[in-house]
C-alpha cells in the first residue's frame, strides 16, 4: 500500500490537499461560543505573535460587526467612513494595522478621544472586533466576510492604491 503511494504520489497529494481544504473550510465557519476556560488568557496568548485567532472566521467577523454597533463604535467612526473619529475602511492606520496594534488601540485607547475599553469589553470580543475592523479595509481574507451588508463597503478589488503622505511630512 505504502510502496504504491511512494511510486505515484498523485492520489496521496490529492487526498491530503482535499483534507487541508476541508479543514480550512471548517475553520471559516467554526463557532466558539465560549473560550474554555472562560478566562480569555488563551486568546491573548495565541494573539501575541501578531496573529488574530478569529481572523478569517465568518462567525467571529459577524460577531465583531455586531459588537461594533452594540458598543457604539459607530458613534464616532460611523460604519467605517469615520466622523468624529478617523475612518476605518481606508488604507491609513495611524497606529499600525497589525492585529495586536489594533487591539491595543481598543484596549488602552489612543490620544485625542479614543477611550480605553479594557475591563469593559471581554477580550475575545475585542479580538472579534479587530477581525471585523481589518476585514473592513480588505486586510482579512474575503472568505470570512459576509457579503450581505446594509452600509457602505470598501471595494475589495480597488485596494491599497490610495496615495500616502510623503514621509517627510510625518
Amino acid at each position: 500500500m505504502s510502496s504504491r503511494f511512494r511510486e505515484r504520489p498523485g492520489p496521496a497529494l490529492l487526498l491530503g490537499g482535499l483534507a487541508a481544504l476541508g479543514a480550512t473550510g471548517c475553520g471559516h465557519e467554526a463557532r466558539r461560543f465560549r473560550e474554555s476556560p472562560p478566562t480569555a488568557a488563551n486568546v491573548a496568548a495565541a494573539a501575541v505573535p501578531g496573529r488574530n485567532p478569529y481572523e478569517g472566521n465568518a462567525w467571529a467577523v459577524a460577531e465583531g460587526r455586531r459588537f461594533y454597533e452594540a458598543y457604539n463604535c459607530v458613534g464616532c467612526h460611523a460604519h467605517g467612513g469615520g466622523g468624529m473619529g478617523p475612518a476605518l475602511m481606508d488604507a491609513q492606520w495611524l497606529y499600525g494595522r497589525e492585529p495586536a496594534q489594533v487591539a491595543a488601540s481598543i484596549l488602552d485607547g489612543r490620544p485625542n478621544g479614543m477611550p480605553p475599553f479594557r475591563d469593559r469589553i471581554s477580550e475575545p470580543q475585542v479580538w472579534q472586533v479587530v477581525a471585523y475592523l481589518r476585514s473592513m479595509s480588505g486586510l482579512a481574507s474575503r472568505y470570512g466576510v459576509s457579503t450581505r451588508q446594509d452600509h457602505m463597503q470598501y471595494e475589495l478589488q480597488a485596494l491599497p492604491s490610495e496615495p500616502r503622505p510623503p514621509a517627510a511630512s510625518r
Binding site: R31, F33, R34, E35, P38, T39, A70, Y71, D119, R120, I121, S122, P124, Q125
Partner: protein, 311 residues
C-alpha cells in the same frame, strides 16, 4: 420551565376559550375522516373479489360523492374559522398596550403610554390586569419570532420591519407561560416569557413600582456591586434606571430581582442561578448574546448583593 400554565387545552381567557371548541370540533371531524378513509382502504384491501368489476358509472358516482363530502367538510371548517377569527379580531374595549419586541433570544417589553414618563420598560415578563383586554404590538429586532401564550390565545408572528397586533385577556389570576413559536436560531427553545395576571389594583401597584428608578444601594457591599456594574462590562449592554448604565443592547435590569426567571425562562431567578448566569451564560444557554464574565469572587458577591436590591 414548569410551575405555570402553558397549555392550549387549559384556557384562561376569551381568546383561547373561543379557539378551544373550534380545535375540538376539528379534532373530532379529522379523527372521523381518518377512521373512514383507513376503514374504507382496509375494506377494499381485504374484501373478497367477486365476479365483474362495478360499472364505470357507479365508480364515477362514488368519486363525486366523496369529493363533495370533502368540499363540504372543508367549507364548514372555513366558515367556522372565519367566524371565530372575526369575533376575536378586535378587543371588545380598550386596555393597556404592550409593545413586545423579539430579540435573539429574549423579549423586550414596553408598556405604551401617551406620557413618556409613564412608560414601563422590562423584559421577559408581562404583567396584565385580570379581566381587561391587553393589546400586544408585536415587533422584532432581528429575525422572525412568534409570540404565543397558549393558555390565553393563538400565536402571532413578529416580523422585522412591520408590526402585528394581537389582544389577549386573562380571566383568572395566575402565571401563564409563553414561548417563541417560530424557529429563530440556536436558543429558540429557551426563548420563553411569562404572563402574570393579577387583580387590577395589584397590577397598578406593580406598574407604579416598575416606574420608579432603582433604589440607591443601602450597604457598602451593594454599593461596591453597583460600581462593578456601572464601571465594568455589565453597563456596556444593560440599563438600570437611576444609574449611568443606560445601554439598550440587552434586557433592562432596573427591577431584575422581582422577575420570576433569568435568561428568558432559562432558569428560576435566585442568587445561585444568577451567579452561574453572570459568570458563564454560555454553559446554560450556548450562543446567547451575553459573554462570560469571570469576575473576582469578591466583586461577584458584591454584584449579586447589588442585583438582589433591584426589586
Amino acid at each position: 420551565m414548569t410551575g405555570w400554565l402553558q397549555s392550549v387545552l387549559e384556557t384562561a381567557g376569551p381568546q383561547a376559550g373561543r379557539l378551544l371548541p373550534l380545535w375540538r370540533f376539528m379534532l373530532v371531524v379529522s379523527v372521523l375522516v381518518f377512521a373512514l378513509v383507513i376503514g374504507t382502504l382496509l375494506w377494499a384491501v381485504f374484501r373478497r373479489r367477486r365476479g365483474e368489476p362495478p360499472s364505470e358509472r357507479r365508480m364515477t358516482r362514488t368519486v363525486v360523492v366523496a369529493t363533495a363530502l370533502t368540499v363540504i367538510v372543508l367549507f364548514v371548517f372555513l366558515v367556522l374559522d372565519f367566524a371565530v377569527g372575526r369575533a376575536l379580531a378586535r378587543p371588545p374595549r380598550p386596555g393597556p398596550v404592550v409593545i413586545v419586541t423579539g430579540h435573539q433570544w429574549w423579549w423586550e417589553i414596553e408598556y405604551d403610554d401617551s406620557l413618556p414618563q409613564r412608560r414601563v420598560r422590562t423584559a421577559n415578563e408581562v404583567h396584565v390586569p385580570v379581566g381587561q383586554p391587553v393589546v400586544f404590538r408585536l415587533q422584532s429586532a432581528d429575525v422572525i419570532h412568534s409570540f404565543w401564550v397558549p393558555s390565553l390565545g393563538g400565536k402571532m408572528d413578529q416580523i422585522p420591519g412591520r408590526e402585528n397586533r394581537l389582544w389577549l385577556q386573562a380571566d383568572t389570576p395566575g402565571v401563564y407561560g409563553g414561548s417563541c413559536a417560530e424557529f429563530c436560531g440556536h436558543q429558540h427553545a429557551k426563548m420563553s416569557l411569562v404572563v402574570v395576571a393579577e387583580p387590577p389594583e395589584k397590577f397598578a401597584r406593580w406598574y407604579d413600582a416598575q416606574l420608579a428608578p432603582a433604589a440607591a444601594p443601602a450597604d457598602s457591599s451593594a454599593a461596591r456591586g453597583q460600581r462593578v456594574f456601572v464601571e465594568g462590562r455589565c453597563a456596556m449592554c444593560h440599563a438600570v434606571e437611576g444609574t449611568p448604565a443606560g445601554s439598550n443592547v440587552g434586557p433592562v435590569l432596573t427591577h431584575l430581582a422581582g422577575r420570576l426567571t433569568l435568561g428568558a425562562g432559562a432558569l428560576p431567578n435566585n442568587r445561585g442561578n444568577l451567579a452561574a448566569w453572570v459568570v458563564d451564560p454560555q454553559r446554560i444557554k450556548p450562543a446567547a448574546r451575553m459573554p462570560p464574565s469571570p469576575l473576582p469572587p469578591a466583586d461577584l458577591e458584591a454584584l449579586l448583593d447589588y442585583l438582589e436590591t433591584l426589586r
